[in-house]
């Protein structure tokens, strides 16, 4: 167990190192794409903490993402002289609050009820974003300029994509690493065990409702951070950031990547953004293809891409394929 844990941190370090050399290798277009991938990777990882770890299927994750995105845009426009740190802190603080309140109301329900209510809640957020024209810009959206980044000893201009890329890599990378750390804490393990057998956890004296609320709030804050970077990256924020489509996006990423592991959703975000960029050049119908891939995976490969990788690995190492461990777990829950 100890070795596996260290291997994971090593993996994170390798990813960071790889990310650090990317601006020297990639052209501007691809660097933009990679920034987007990193932002969505955090969004997908936070979603998977709900779906994969806690077994909570939420159709309202975009409300956090969108709240984060809009907070940054609105605060940068209306508060003159607000620093980058200030805007991001505001976004995370607000989404944490939203997560806490929404979680308190929604988590009393389970399964399909929870799925439905999160969707309705998200629709409410979307309606507000559309109707509250004076603040959110309604259909027109909001345009911002990235403020410079104050680092204490120096100030870095953020107009250049490479410097913003490094900033994203460090902050979002740290957030993803923190998510990994969270799953390793007693708190994270509690959530995992709650999915398997909540009755027993209650019997052992855990307050499962509180654990679930903390998890929900935490994932909300992480999605809010991703949303904040989404606005900063595109320097634009519209109602699409808070729409049901944004939830669909993260659901596709997470599921295609694989809900069974921590790293699967990051792979999903990578594949999704790349497919989106290249398929949209070939055909306007790329969402249809994504949908078909998704349904195919739901039907035949419930473990997503990570399951495929796992089977290939087992093929080479000669281990007998133990069937579908993920599927077996789902039945038990």
């Amino acid at each position: 167990m100890k070795i596996r844990k260290n291997a994971s941190y090593l993996f994170i370090a390798i990813l960071f190192a790889l990310g650090a050399v990317m601006p020297m290798v990639l052209k501007q277009y691809h660097l933009n794409m990679l920034t987007e991938i990193i932002v969505f990777a955090l969004y997908a990882v936070s979603y998977n903490l709900l779906l994969g770890y806690a077994g909570l299927l939420s159709f309202g994750h975009a409300m956090f993402f969108g709240t984060g995105a809009f907070t940054v845009a609105v605060s940068l426009i209306h508060i003159p002289g607000l620093s980058m740190w200030g805007a991001i802190t505001l976004a995370v603080a607000l989404t944490t609050a939203v997560g806490f309140v929404a979680g308190g109301l929604l988590l009393r329900h389970k399964g399909a009820y929870f799925a439905l209510l999160t969707m309705a809640f998200n629709a409410l957020f979307y309606a507000v974003a559309t109707k509250w024209h004076t603040v959110t810009g309604g259909d027109d959206g909001l345009s911002i300029t990235r403020p410079d980044l104050a680092l204490g000893f120096t100030t870095v201009g953020m107009g250049d994509i490479a410097s913003f890329y490094y900033f994203t890599l460090v902050i979002i990378g740290a957030a993803i690493a923190f998510c990994w750390y969270f799953t390793q804490t007693a708190m994270g393990q509690t959530v995992l065990m709650m999915r398997e057998n909540e009755e027993r956890m209650k019997f052992l004296g855990y307050n499962t409702n509180v654990s679930r609320l903390i998890l929900f709030t935490f994932t909300g804050a992480m999605a809010g951070l991703a949303g904040a970077f989404y606005t900063l990256h595109f320097q634009f924020c519209s109602q699409s950031a808070i729409s049901i489509d944004m939830t669909t996006t993260v659901l596709l990423m997470t599921f295609v990547g694989g809900t069974g592991t921590f790293w699967g959703p990051m792979l999903g975000a990578l594949v999704y953004i790349i497919l989106q960029n290249y398929l949209s050049d070939i055909t306007d119908r790329w969402p249809l293809f994504m949908g078909l891939i998704f349904v195919f995976m739901v039907l035949f490969i419930p473990g997503g891409l990570t399951q495929i990788i796992q089977s290939i690995r087992n093929l080479f190492t000669g281990k007998a394929n133990t069937g579908r461990p993920k599927a077996a777990k789902e039945v038990a829950s």
Partner: protein
């Protein structure tokens, strides 16, 4: 205020439509414990099929007959070959599947018919207006409400007066026990799912001329239908009737009284019901 009767009638018409959509949804949910996210996509397909058929033949009554049958077949196929497959993987996968199907259907509709609203004209006496309680009112909206009443009555008759109805109601309560008693529950499930799809398609055919036919129509009605089954209580037909009328009137008068808040009103009602009586107005305790 002379507008009040008009808005009341508008509310009835929309409530009738909502009932047609949510009745199938709540039956499927009560019985199979599957929240069908693709349900509103069936409704949209109904509207588009009807549009295509009207373009070809111009016969509204024909499309009102044919489209629900098409949707019945599609619903049966989805249940038999897709939904039943993922059933063993558990609840989350069933939701994911129906969600994915809804996504695909929406994309196909955008592909075939384009991402813009289409106008549907029914023709005949349905286009005219009629004089009731002192106001001139479109026949079509009255027709919608009449359809809802008719379908609701037939459903109630089947559910509460026939042997099939007894099996259905028993399956809502405890499908495993009904299966153990020797009834073919998978077949019943398939029938109910297909019937729900057909009902939804029927609603779509009717909705086409009233609201516009466009790819976003599924999501619009889906959320309202969700609110209906939450407010009415999951799996309760009587609840669906009451909640549909309440939501219909609320939507209608909301636009009149608080134009800016009309969308939020519906969710507000849902929030209140959830806090006061989480199982819904007519729902049983979970």
């Amino acid at each position: 205020m002379s507008d009040i009767p008009v808005f009341f009638l508008h509310g009835l018409a929309y409530g009738g439509l909502l009932f047609l959509v949510s009745a199938g949804l709540t039956l499927v949910f009560g019985m199979m414990n599957v929240l069908n996210f693709a349900h509103a996509a069936m409704y949209m397909l109904g509207a588009y099929f009807s549009y295509a058929l009207l373009q070809e033949t111009g016969q509204f009554w024909l499309s009102l007959m044919v489209c629900p049958i098409l949707l019945f077949i599609i619903g049966a196929l989805i249940e038999r070959f897709l939904l039943r497959r993922v059933h063993i993987f558990g609840h989350v996968h069933e939701l994911l599947l129906t969600f994915g199907l809804a996504y695909i259907i929406t994309e196909i509709v955008k592909w075939v018919w384009g991402n813009f609203p289409l106008a549907v004209n029914v023709g005949g006496f349905l286009n005219e207006t009629v004089e009731i309680i002192g106001i001139t009112y479109p026949v079509y909206r009255i027709f919608i409400f009449a359809c809802a009443v008719l379908v609701g009555s037939i459903m109630a008759l089947i559910l509460y007066k026939t042997r099939l109805g007894i099996i259905l109601r028993a399956a809502v309560n405890d499908s495993e026990m009904v299966n153990a008693l020797g009834f073919n529950v998978p077949l019943v499930f398939m029938g109910v799912f297909a019937f729900g799809a057909a009902l939804s398609g029927f609603a779509g055919v009717i909705a086409g001329p009233l609201l516009s036919t466009f790819p976003g129509m599924a999501n619009e009605i889906l959320l309202d239908a969700f609110v209906v089954i939450v407010v009415g209580g999951f799996g309760s037909l009587g609840g669906a009737v009451a909640a549909s009328l309440i939501i219909g009137e609320l939507q209608s008068f909301g636009v009149l009284l608080f134009p800016k808040l009309s969308i939020a009103l519906v969710y507000l009602l849902m929030a209140v019901v959830l806090i006061v009586k989480p199982s819904g107005l007519f729902g049983e305790k979970q």
